[in-house]
């Protein structure tokens, strides 16, 4: 076990951490990934509001649809879409690091293959969803 100490970092001059995420582009993009996660949550809430309106009846549902077609809503959707693409890109980039080692035919699967597989699944799922949505349109 690791013994606890009063000054865990050891002796010497300690540099401040203020503004650490602006020091390196890698940290900046990490923060973008974290911030865009909020965008994902916001979009989930927008959809949830739609479900609630649907449960309340036709006038509420039509009201939600009208709100979705407003310029403010379209601007918000474009912003959220950009955030979502950014989030997906940075997440698929880090995804191989979050997974156990994968072996196919005795050889380890490359990190770049896992990242590409993530993109393929995301794009196929998005297209499939779009096609199904078009088919269900009255």
């Amino acid at each position: 076990m690791i013994p606890p100490v009063e000054a865990p970092r050891g002796r010497g001059y300690r540099r401040p951490m203020a503004g650490w995420w602006r020091r390196n582009p890698y940290f900046f993009w990490y923060m973008v990934r974290e911030v865009t996660a909020v965008g994902v949550a916001v979009y989930a809430l927008v959809l949830l509001a739609g479900v609630v309106c649907l449960a309340r009846g036709e006038p509420a549902w039509n009201g939600w649809l009208a709100a979705m077609r407003s310029p403010v809503s379209i601007a918000l959707h474009l912003l959220l879409l950009a955030g979502m693409v950014c989030h997906a890109w940075s997440w698929f980039d880090i995804m191989p690091k979050t997974m156990p080692m994968l072996f196919v035919g005795g050889k380890r699967v490359e990190a770049s293959t896992i990242t590409r597989a993530g993109w393929v699944v995301a794009v196929v799922a998005a297209i499939a969803l779009y096609v199904v949505a078009r088919m269900l349109r009255p």
Partner: protein, 251 residues
């Protein structure tokens, strides 16, 4: 035929306890050839311009892990980085981020060593074997499970790349989490239970937010971020197993 050396400006972050209240930049001009490393540039400063400049080094071939420093803001081994990369501009050399500066480019490794001693960083045989019984056999696949994590040279570049360690020094940190994983994944090892407690503790994997820069800067391709994040799954499963009455790996 002799090759005329070119000259490059090296800016070094100096900190001399008792003299400097805080670190200050000092500039030097040093001659260099295509194969002159940043470490050799620092040695040229120490030999010819300022003998008081302090930095750690030993092997000069990226295996001892002593000469880690921030080179133009990136944690790198000074022996493994060439001055030609920065010419005709200058290069800025500073001590590893997130670690206290003892003097000039020398940082305190006290915290790292204290934690290293606490993670059981050796193989505890799963079963006792006598010499007559022969060696512990392992398949290539079993070896592959931990081989890359065994490549760590304790250079601490990953600690300088980890903002979570900088913000919370209680975090065990990427390098040592990878070392824990190296022994836990070894089919010959029997001390997993002991190390699982460290993995699942607050200063263990849960302090990591998957920044991932540790794996980018690692000179030995250990991929500490992968070791840490695999153990988030292991740690969570272990926690659940214990709650539902199954025996988890932790003691």
């Amino acid at each position: 035929m002799t090759v005329e050396p070119r000259h490059i400006e090296i800016e070094v972050l100096r900190y001399r306890p008792g003299t400097d209240a805080e670190p200050v930049w000092q500039s030097f001009r040093v001659p260099f050839l295509d194969d002159t490393s940043v470490l050799e540039g620092l040695q040229a400063i120490k030999d010819d311009q300022d003998g008081s400049l302090s930095f750690r080094w030993s092997c000069r071939m990226a295996i001892c892990g002593s000469c880690g420093m921030m080179i133009d803001g990136v944690p790198r081994l000074a022996c493994h980085t060439f001055l030609r990369e920065f010419f005709p501009g200058k290069v800025r050399v500073a001590p590893l981020d997130h670690l206290p500066i003892e003097r000039d480019l020398v940082v305190s490794a006290e915290d790292f060593v204290r934690k290293l001693e606490g993670i059981t960083p050796w193989l505890v045989p799963r079963e006792a074997r006598t010499l007559a019984q022969g060696e512990h056999l392992q398949t290539p696949r079993q070896l592959e499970q931990f081989r890359q994590y065994a490549g760590c040279i304790n250079c601490m570049l990953c600690y300088a790349a980890c903002p979570q360690y900088g913000l919370d020094p209680e975090f065990i940190g990427p390098g040592l989490m990878a070392l824990i994983h190296r022994y836990n994944e070894d089919s010959r090892d029997g001390a997993r239970a002991e190390r699982m407690e460290l993995i699942n503790a607050e200063q263990g994997v849960w302090s990591c937010t998957a920044v991932g820069y540790c794996s980018v800067v690692c000179p030995k391709h250990v991929d500490p971020a992968n070791a840490v994040n695999q153990n988030k799954v292991n740690g969570a499963l272990d926690w659940v197993k214990q709650r539902v009455g199954l025996k988890g790996a932790s003691k």
